[in-house]
């Protein structure tokens, strides 16, 4: 590898790393009560539940920022995997209806369990979301056998998404009043109300999945060249496809279970990161996408909390504002490529 490329990669990773740190700090400083950095450092040193600042920090802001960091990374990585899988730059968990499928499954399980006054655990939610994600991805796969074009696949995915959302609305309407408030907030997508228990579970699941994906980086690189060449290089395509489906569903499921569906991060971040790195090699893209997703979600959540404070925006509102233009840009560039 030549020197220029190495400098560029180092600079890109340094930028992403610094971005995560700075935005994480901003996220715990800024809010309805501003906390200064020295105060934060003092409070982080020892946790005192009697102090208001300490409670705000430990019970609200830290878990929330941690969730944005972990789930944002997971979401971007899920998008990258799906784009690689379908050889389609505008694929992602949200546009392919995978998030909506997971959302439907979670809504059903929540209503069913709450109706019987059973406490819903994080594990239940993840499991339900995973089942929903795999099911809707299965539908998309069936579609993709018939529809070859890039936009056709996405339209199919969006339709699956709409169907799942409609059914979700329907079951929410028939749910008990007390559940609706909960469900409604969650189904719009938000990082609020995270507990340390949530954060622990999501860290474990996401970390294991990311590690699993990282171990696949070599066959993923071969897969990017196209099926025929990957097969010639000795890649077991069936096995690899299965692994990608499981990993991307798991990551998407995690996000939906804890934060509800979050749009556009999955498409926009991998594309921005790819442009930043100047390469699509999985071994670099996987960690970079994760960091990029964290930066993007920390930034968007900060805006969601503070822009119209004390009212909170749903996270998808903010991610769409910054993410959707990126998608348009990708599509425009694709067409330009074809014409040139």
């Amino acid at each position: 590898m030549d020197k220029n490329r190495r400098y560029r990669l180092t600079a890109a990773f340094a930028l992403l790393g610094a971005g995560v740190l700075v935005l994480f700090a901003l996220n715990i400083c800024i809010g309805s009560v501003a906390i200064s950095l020295p105060d934060i450092l003092r409070t982080l040193g020892e946790r005192r539940d009697t102090e208001a600042i300490s409670r705000i920090l430990w019970d609200i802001r830290l878990p929330r920022a941690a969730a944005a960091l972990i789930l944002g990374g997971a979401l971007a990585l899920a998008g990258y995997l799906l784009q690689t899988f379908f050889h389609n730059p505008i694929a992602g968990p949200f546009v392919l209806g995978i998030s909506s499928g997971a959302k439907l499954a979670v809504a059903l399980v929540m209503i069913f369990l709450m109706g019987r006054s059973v406490r819903v655990t994080s594990a239940d939610m993840i499991f339900a979301a995973f089942a929903g994600a795999v099911l809707s991805l299965g539908f998309v796969l069936l579609l993709s056998r018939r529809i070859q074009s890039m936009s056709g696949l996405v339209v199919g995915g969006v339709m699956i998404g709409y169907i799942c959302s409609a059914v979700t609305e329907l079951v929410v309407t028939f749910a008990d009043d007390a559940d609706i408030v909960n469900l409604h907030n969650w189904s719009r997508g938000s990082f609020s109300g995270m507990t340390w228990g949530n954060v622990t579970v999501m860290s474990v699941v996401v970390l294991l999945t990311v590690l699993f994906v990282f171990l696949m980086s070599k066959p993923l690189g071969a897969y990017q060249l196209g099926d025929a060449y990957a097969r010639n290089m000795g890649v077991n395509l069936r096995l690899l496809r299965g692994c990608i489906v499981i990993a991307s569903s798991m990551l998407s499921a995690c996000i939906v279970a804890f934060a509800g569906p979050v749009s556009f991060v999955g498409i926009a971040v991998p594309h921005l990161v790819k442009t930043l790195l100047g390469t699509t090699e999985p071994i670099r893209m996987i960690p970079a996408c994760f960091l990029g997703g964290s930066v993007f979600c920390l930034f968007c959540d900060l805006l969601a909390r503070t822009m119209l404070a004390p009212t909170e925006l749903s996270i998808s509102t903010v991610t769409a504002i910054f993410g959707a233009p990126v998608v348009l840009w990708i599509m425009g560039r694709k067409n330009a490529d074809r014409q040139s």
């Binding site: 690189g221 196209g226 025929a228 010639n232 290089m233 890649v235 790819k274 699509t280």
Partner: protein, 262 residues
């Protein structure tokens, strides 16, 4: 039996469950070049894809050395056989050198990082195929002819014992066509590389091949050495031109006859 490196026994190829070409018997010694010729749609690509293990065989067996191809593990086969197909690799944000380096895949470790030795082989092959000067350029921005040379370099980088090429010279100008074939010729002399390829340039197939397989419709029309294959009116029959009006034109007839008999 031992003297042959590549063999097919009663090979039957086609898509889905519909056999297209049946009972193909090929036997090649190490270092031999086999060319497939025949009209468009005769199944040359289908046959090459089947030989390369990209399409499931509908019957029969392909042998590489002593082993049946279908029983080889992916990585083992990848070190023995490499391919150049008409479809180009997807290579987003990859330089030509990156594309060539993907040929080292079967030899690298778990994360696919190139060793110094791998890098040396990549550079060597790029020099051999004369693409060192375009090594840094974006693969998606070079010409089709240049892409074909990069794809050949990629395949050679894989250090195969046998190489399968589907119309590898179609976009090349006369100079690079000859150079391309001379590289294959050199590889087979030096390293005993066995070559199976489809060619549309009959006069080139004639001078470079040890054996020629003629495909027409659903069967192997003929298989033999160039001297056996090329007869006065064979080309006209193979490509179904006996009745063609344009061969009434003397200039065209002379051209076809010259390829046939030379």
């Amino acid at each position: 039996m031992e003297q042959y490196y590549f063999m097919t026994k009663k090979m039957c190829v086609g898509y889905g469950n519909r056999p297209l070409i049946k009972d193909v018997e090929i036997a090649l010694a190490k270092g031999e070049i086999l060319s497939l010729i025949g009209p468009n749609g005769a199944g040359k690509s289908t046959m090459l894809k089947s030989i390369a293990g990209q399409l499931r065989l509908l019957g029969g067996t392909v042998y590489l050395g002593q082993a049946s191809l279908s029983e080889m593990k992916g990585n083992e086969l990848a070190r023995k056989m490499s391919v150049v197909f008409t479809q180009k690799v997807r290579a987003e944000l990859k330089s030509c050198r990156d594309v060539v380096a993907t040929g080292r895949y079967p030899y690298t470790g778990w994360f696919g990082v190139l060793s110094g030795e791998d890098a040396r082989i990549v550079d060597e092959v790029m020099a051999l195929t004369r693409i060192t000067d375009i090594g840094g350029q974006d693969f998606n921005k070079i010409s089709d002819g240049q892409k074909q040379r990069v794809m050949l370099a990629r395949a050679i980088c894989q250090e195969p014992e046998i190489i399968i090429l589907d119309e590898p010279t179609s976009y090349l100008d006369i100079r690079y066509k000859l150079e391309f074939l001379s590289i294959l010729d050199e590889m087979r002399k030096k390293k005993g590389l066995t070559v199976i390829m489809s060619l549309h340039e009959l006069e080139l197939a004639r001078i470079i091949s040890d054996k020629i397989l003629c495909l027409k419709g659903a069967y192997v029309e003929r298989c033999g050495t160039p001297a056996e294959i090329f007869e006065t009116d064979f080309i006209e029959r193979l490509y179904g031109m006996e009745e063609a009006d344009f061969l009434k034109d003397e200039r065209f007839l002379a051209y076809v006859r010259q390829i046939g008999s030379g």
